[in-house]
Subunit: 496 residues, 2 copies
């Protein structure tokens, strides 16, 4: 497994059903202390160290509530003011003179055009070292137990109703992932199948082997094959849940509102939003909206009608039903249908629909346009006490891209962007910009990826003209915060 | 719309959440009377008429309970006995001398090798005429209201725990589809967008137009575009529900057990399992099993734990958890996860898992290997009173293939088969047989499609050898009932 490079993209942009209690991690990351995870042994290629993450550590949530930008931007107080200027909207990138981001990653961002006081996007780029759990006795690990693991980590967080959730996630999510991976350090380095059962106290795995089976039922005559890859996927999935639960706990005290969407890349043991590879576009993530998640939302509303509080109907109608239309027949679809059919309008159908609207105007409970994310624990339906959170899912969709299956050239890149980029830029336009910018630089010039990130941000922002920010085609540019990572898939050299 | 040929494949092989009450159709098909829908005006190409469907009409459910084969096989009493012979397993096709099946469709079937007393597959191939609803006054329709619609229909039904559900579905499902389409006859022939709302009494549609909108919410500032195609999809979806509800009603009296999977093709206004087109394989359906529907089943069990009756856990484990492992940590995944993670084993985890096993041995509630279907209203967990039906879905997955988008040659076919075919035959093997058999016949010889269906059934059955039915590679052939339709995509001539 160590000989293969694998990565996972966990994409959570805006899942139903309250999640079950997660297994608690014995030493959860703490939002009020400790610096980001430092890699005690630097990975092979760039001289990266910890601290390229976001915001200064060792502060409480309240202390950092004002305004912060990723520390890897190395902004001075004056630079921070310029980054916060809605009129100038200067594009920010890490300084040429500073330490490069891990893996020669390019990054650029720009603040919104006045949509919110501060930039509600946040970003994190880290190399994280995972040490295996201590043995049962609590004694330091023996050298024979093998080395720890390193993973590369990129995260973009698009906050709404405030920047706090995005800031917290950018600072802590990778540490939750690290915690979840601690159990797996030895397992992932062992080519044999993962043990199905571990002893009760964290320690040496595999003491309870998986070979004995019970049950006369034929469906238990064999055991499931569980791959190493699916363990990493499960670790990332659980980390998102634990991050969201931590937000719930810490928010209760601080009355912090808001939430965020998250787009995260984990490069571990050699696998990895859109990939542009040899001109070909490979989408690695998709949006979670009331439209794309309609059936999940409707199913939850149908099975748990109390969550609709008598205010909403789980049925979808192509437009609002009017009282005078009672008894007529209107097109509708329920949680199981992909087509439309007519139904006789009854009193209940006059309630507001759980899901309504199209495109950027699609809304869940007439309130929110994203259906997966972290935070939003206090979000209620407008002028109501009905909570939105049960319908929001903090579960990511994890996709795995095996970097070893293709020999990547220096122009093959993974582009991560927040809504500010994708609202006004198509996949094809991104691919064209990739081609245009990268071909203007030498293949071995590492600054080309920062230049590309800047070009993508500029291309989505536009220039101030005709009372607004306009693109060359005179359409409106994005007035949202825009943040972009460009990750060269050639990566840190060899994947072996 | 009439100028385009469209078809839909509704595939329901082995969905969660009890369905909401469907809008009742004023004149539901009746299982105890009335012949199959007859096309008063024959469609343009082959001289097809009604009556090519299954089993003689005008009999009660009890009367037909013994044993029946599709009427289009035109079996004499002796022929019926031979078709029912598990030892000889003679392949049955419609007689050469008889009337051809609509659209030169090929068909072949063979009984199982002793798995059940009778052949529990059923088939239906019909041309169905849909007359629009009568006007409000109840007077006959005026000629100016336009003509009715015809659709071609093929259905394969794979019964389990008896053949009654399959037999009932083969006789009635297309009539439920016809009922659902009655509302749409005029709408589908009108190129303008469908009316969103119809007057309360069935009659002339569109009297209540869709232009007025209400609501200050931005998500209601526009109305949904609803396509004609999605209306047909919705009609098929509702027809499946109504079929299942009819089974529930009629079973209550007759104590009929069992259920069936359904694979149905509807060709309407010119769109249409696997398509072999120019050697290319296009799968048009997928299996619904405890494995492929794990997350749907787990979500229902999680949101409605009472359905698990304290006997099952909604969590999946890679093997059965043993009491002595309490307190240890076992791999698991819940309704949201695609990966696996470790959790501490608690008492509840010792319950039997909702979903277990792999491949053909995968079972839901340790009882059934299919998760969508019609019927099974009385099915209970083995040695328990817990009902299975809430987890079974009668919702089909409808896929639309536009026949007009490609100029099909005589060798392009759609192959529908029951489990008996697909358990032992891969898509590629089917494609190879298509190529081999069709190339041995003149392109305009209509008997080639029957020959192909027979070859596919024979290839899956094998020959009796070494105490079993064996394939040329000496592997076991299918001991299940095998039924195959071969539909030439060149179709009834022109689609225009």
């Amino acid at each position: 497994m160590l000989n293969r490079v694998r990565s996972a993209v966990a994409h959570l942009v805006s899942s139903g059903g309250a999640p079950p209690p997660r297994p608690k991690s014995p030493d959860l990351p703490n939002s009020t202390s400790a610096p980001p995870a430092a890699p005690p042994q630097a990975p092979r290629s760039p001289p990266t160290r910890a601290g390229s993450g976001t915001a200064a550590p060792a502060k409480t949530v309240e202390a950092r509530a004002s305004f912060s930008r990723p520390t890897f931007l190395q902004l001075s107080p004056g630079g921070l003011r310029r980054a916060d200027d809605h009129a100038g909207r200067a594009v920010q990138s890490p300084p040429d003179t500073g330490r490069r981001l891990p893996w020669s990653t390019g990054y650029a961002e720009v603040i919104n055009a006045g949509k919110s006081r501060h930039n509600e996007d946040q970003a994190c780029c880290e190399v994280v070292y995972v040490e295996g759990r201590r043995s049962v006795s609590g004694a330091p690990r023996e050298p024979s137990r093998g080395q720890g693991l390193c993973f590369y980590y990129w995260g973009l967080f698009d906050g709404h109703a405030g920047g706090r959730a995005a800031e917290m996630a950018s600072r802590l999510l990778h540490r939750h992932i690290r915690e979840q991976l601690k159990d797996l350090v030895e397992i992932l380095q062992d080519p044999s199948p993962p043990p199905l059962c571990l002893p009760s106290t964290p320690g040496a795995p595999g003491s309870s082997d998986s070979s004995h089976l019970v049950g006369p039922q034929s469906c238990w005559s064999s055991q499931k094959e569980v791959t190493h890859e699916s363990l990493v996927v499960g670790a990332i999935e659980n980390a998102f849940q634990l991050m969201d639960e931590q937000m719930a706990r810490e928010r209760r005290g601080h009355q912090v509102e808001g939430g965020c969407c998250a787009l995260v890349v984990v490069y571990l043991l050699g696998k990895v939003a859109i990939i542009v590879r040899n001109g070909e576009i490979i989408p690695m993530s998709r949006e979670f909206t009331p439209e794309t998640e309609r059936q999940r939302l409707q199913t939850l509303g149908f099975l748990k009608p109390e969550l609709l509080g008598g205010e909403f109907t789980h049925l979808e109608f192509p437009r609002r039903v009017q009282p005078k239309e009672l008894g007529q027949r209107m097109l509708y679809r329920d949680q199981n249908m992909t087509g439309w059919a007519y139904k006789k309008i009854e009193l209940e159908d006059l309630r507001f629909p759980l899901v309504c609207g199209e495109g950027k105007k699609a809304r869940m409970m007439a309130t929110i346009g994203v259906t997966r994310g972290l935070g939003d624990h206090n979000l209620r339906v407008c002028s109501s006490t009905l909570p939105i959170k049960p319908f929001l899912s903090s579960f990511p969709e994890v996709r795995v891209y095996d970097l070893t299956q293709y020999e990547h050239c220096p122009d093959d890149v993974l582009v991560l962007g927040t809504d500010g980029l994708w609202d006004v830029t198509s996949d094809c336009e991104v691919a064209a910009t990739v081609d245009r910018v990268l071909s203007a630089y030498e293949p071995n010039d590492p600054s080309r990826y920062t230049a590309l990130a800047q070009a993508l941000v500029l291309g989505a922002r536009g220039t101030p003209r005709d009372r607004g920010w306009r693109l060359p085609n005179n359409k409106l540019g994005s007035g949202d915060d825009i943040s972009v990572f460009v990750i060269p898939l050639g990566g840190p050299g060899s994947y072996s």
